[in-house]
């Protein structure tokens, strides 16, 4: 794992997102599953239960891919990075509407954009010579 930037980033980001997902449930007790106004996690990031589930799923996908092999980590990093970038664009347009089912606020956008940039950057640039059976 130490030689693969994709596996390292996927594992670290995966662990952080799983932790964030679990912590989120500690503050969203009375919040509706897709409420457009959630509760603040760590006093900054607005989350609702659906947002927590999304964090858990994304974290689990990254963690599993990171612990598996380079190909899986690279594909997962690129895919989740692209989805987060899309969310960064779309999120601003839907934030004040009923479509904001993830209860996104500006701090969320910052974290999502940073994640998108790093995951996409590593996924698209690193481990290019890896073959499909590699497990570096």
């Amino acid at each position: 794992m130490r030689t693969s930037p994709n596996r390292l980033i996927a594992t670290v980001f995966g662990a952080v997102y799983v932790l964030v997902g679990l912590l989120g449930f500690a503050v969203t007790g009375g919040v509706g599953f897709i409420a457009t106004q959630g509760e603040l996690l760590l006093g900054i990031f607005e989350v609702n239960p659906l947002h927590n589930v999304a964090h858990l799923l994304i974290g689990a996908a990254l963690l599993i891919a990171g612990l598996s092999n380079v190909t899986a980590a690279k594909a997962t990093n690129s895919t989740i990075g692209a989805v987060y970038l899309l969310l960064g664009i779309v999120g601003f347009f839907i934030a004040s509407t009923a479509l904001n089912i993830l209860a996104l606020n500006t701090a969320d956008h910052f974290l999502h954009l940073a994640s998108a940039i790093v995951l996409l950057g590593v996924g698209l640039t690193a481990d290019k010579t890896v073959r499909s059976h590699a497990t570096a």
Binding site: T3, S4, P5, L8, I9, T36, Q37, L40, G43, E46, L85, G88, I89, G91, F92, F93, A95, S96, N100, A103, L104, N105, T106, H109, F110, L111, L113, A114, S115, I117, V118, L120, G121, V122, L124, T125, A126, D127, K128, T129
Partner: protein, 190 residues
């Protein structure tokens, strides 16, 4: 050019693209078309630069990256001459300043890389702008993570300062969690 520098250029293009798209959506008609067009082009160029091991169309980028800066500069100069504020021109100051900073970084970095390429042994310009092998190691990761968070720290407030971004803070979460006033304990005793 080192892989980290090339990745930072891709990041800068993505950041500028997001800001130009966000500003372009609410800008007046001719500016809207230009900014959305540049946003889409920057998005495509940024992803292509990350995906390939070289800078795409370097000679075009040096000039093209500066066009949005000139558009903003011309609009602001014209607006100030007519007594119109930057917000009224449809190009808000802070987001356009950040986007221009990213565009200037792009143009300057590509220009420097081209200059270095021309000083070396004769070779195609694109070849000297290629990455140097497969990037790996802690130095690479640190560069990527630092670049990602730096870009987000610049871009997110800029996006929030756009007209479309001003709606991105749901009610009740504008940086204040909650202020709970103490309630009188026993009304019955009065």
């Amino acid at each position: 050019m080192s892989p980290v520098t090339r990745i930072w250029m891709g990041f800068a293009a993505l950041g500028a693209a997001l800001i130009h798209l966000a500003v372009g959506v609410t800008a007046p008609f001719p500016l809207s078309v230009l900014l959305v067009g540049f946003g889409i082009a920057e998005l495509g160029w940024g992803i292509a630069t990350l995906a390939r091991d070289r800078i795409i169309v370097p000679r075009i980028i040096v000039g093209a990256a500066l066009i949005p800066v000139f558009i903003w500069g011309a609009t602001a100069a014209l607006g100030s001459g007519l007594g119109v504020t930057s917000a009224q021109t449809g190009l808000p100051l802070y987001p356009m300043a950040v986007a221009s900073l990213l565009n200037i970084f792009l143009a300057a970095t590509v220009a420097i890389a081209q200059r270095h390429a021309s000083n070396k042994v004769p070779a195609p310009v694109g070849a000297a702008l290629h990455g140097t092998g497969t990037p790996s190691g802690w130095r690479f990761l640190t560069g990527v993570v630092a670049g990602g968070f730096l870009l987000s720290a610049l871009t997110t407030p800029a996006l929030a300062a756009t007209e479309i971004g001003s709606h991105a803070l749901p009610h009740g979460s504008h940086g204040v969690t909650a202020v709970i006033m103490p309630q009188p304990v026993d009304h019955g005793s009065h």
